[in-house]
């Protein structure tokens, strides 16, 4: 937690929920907002209303942003999580493995660019042992799991986002098919 204009604001990945992290990501992805407006919206989201900044100088505002962005520690991949009495596993063995099937589903979720894609992405990765593949990838099941995941801490999401980003960047083909030149 950091204190901004006298208010306690969660800023660490083990303090923010996945839902808050999604909301912050969406604010930063909004091209209609400039950098200051984005920070103001993030602070508002986390409990510091915009009106509180009315008499704040730009230097003080910059300091608030700096304090907020000061993250400590680097969260590690959590192989499994517990929700509603069930264990969900993202991968077997020692290292994270991203299957073709998961990637296809993740790509579909990311392509839709809807606001809750981070939780859905995790919902695709984390699987219950007692369910079949068909049940696991069923849309309703993914949505339900994503809803539960949004209440977990963002430290769960970030390492996976990094891993997936790196893996996709490495594997994704970049060329488009050539067209006949008329």
């Amino acid at each position: 937690m950091v204190t901004i204009l006298g208010r306690e604001v969660p800023n660490q990945l083990n303090e923010l929920t996945v839902l808050q992290f999604e909301q912050i990501t969406n604010i930063h992805a909004n091209n209609e907002l400039d950098a200051i407006a984005k920070h103001l919206e993030v602070f508002e989201l986390l409990g510091v209303p915009e009106v509180d900044f009315e008499d704040v100088s730009i230097e003080e505002f910059k300091e608030c942003v700096k304090v907020f962005n000061d993250l400590s520690g680097k969260p590690e991949l959590q192989q499994s999580i517990e929700m509603e009495g069930y264990t969900y596993k993202a991968f077997e063995g020692e290292t994270f493995r991203l299957s073709v099937k998961d990637t296809k589903h993740i790509e579909k979720v990311m392509h839709s660019k809807h606001k809750g894609y981070i939780a859905e992405l995790l919902a695709i990765l984390f699987k219950r042992d007692d369910l079949t593949k068909a049940e696991h990838y069923a849309e309703a099941h993914i949505k339900h799991k994503a809803k539960m995941i949004r209440e977990l801490k963002a430290e769960l999401a970030v390492p996976y986002l990094v891993e997936i980003g790196q893996k996709l960047a490495k594997q994704m083909p970049k060329d488009a098919p050539a067209e006949v030149v008329e």
Partner: protein
């Protein structure tokens, strides 16, 4: 798993199948489907692999992002490529249909019009079989040929078409201005009716042309479609220019 290394290992059917997969918007999913098609396996067989494993395979098939060879064979088995300068009106109209409706999807249909049975007549001249068959019935005979053997007919026809359209620009101008008008939204029901009539006119433009060339006598339909394309358009251009 055997993966082809270049277009020279791909037949027309596979080529069409691969190109049809480009309707899949998600890049990775599309590449997986293409990979499965090339390996001739269900894409489900790849789904449990790690993406780094398929990544290497995807690197092996980057040739799919290039065009096949622009050359084409003039003789394919019993078929011989009919020079485009010798096209008939009927052949041209059918080719235009296929080119207007996705020429990649219809490359076999295009090939079935341009590759023909042939013989030498009593005067020692090369004679092509008449266009009395349906390209829809014959198209699949060309699916098994290598894509590199026939892909060049597409570029060849497109180049011919460009020159042809430029040469007979006057005859095609009316259609172009009609297309521009089409973009204007109708202001009232009368305009809407006019637009509908106009759309119908475009829809039936080739039929209208043939009907005119037949002098409204449909028994002459085959005679007209068998007429040499260039001669017919020369005569039409003359009529238009002299307003006769």
């Amino acid at each position: 798993m055997h993966l082809p290394k270049s277009w020279s290992e791909i037949d027309v059917f596979q080529f069409k199948e691969i190109r049809s997969l480009y309707t899949i918007e998600e890049t990775f999913s599309r590449e997986i489907e293409i990979l499965a098609t090339l390996a001739d396996i269900p894409s489900d067989d790849l789904e449990d692999l790690d993406i780094s494993e398929v990544g290497d395979m995807l690197k092996d098939i980057t040739f799919i992002n290039s065009e096949p060879s622009k050359f084409y064979k003039h003789v394919l088995g019993e078929w011989k490529f009919k020079p485009l300068s010798k096209l008939t009106v009927g052949e041209f109209i059918d080719l235009e249909y296929f080119f207007a409706n996705d020429y990649i999807k219809h490359i076999s249909h295009v090939a079935s019009i341009l590759y023909r049975k042939h013989s030498i007549n009593e005067w020692g001249d090369l004679v092509f079989e008449p266009y009395k068959y349906s390209p829809f019935e014959r198209a699949e005979l060309f699916d098994e040929y290598g894509i590199n053997e026939i892909y060049g007919i597409i570029t060849e026809y497109l180049a011919f078409r460009t020159t042809f359209m430029e040469k007979y620009e006057l005859l095609f101008q009316a259609d172009e201005s009609e297309e521009e008008e089409e973009a204007i939204k109708p202001a009232n029901s009368q305009d809407a009716k006019a637009e509908q009539e106009h759309k119908s006119a475009i829809k039936w433009s080739w039929e209208r042309l043939l009907y005119g060339l037949c002098n409204e006598d449909l028994t002459k339909f085959d005679q007209v479609t068998d007429m040499p394309l260039v001669l017919t358009f020369n005569m039409m251009a003359m009529k238009k220019e002299l307003n006769i």
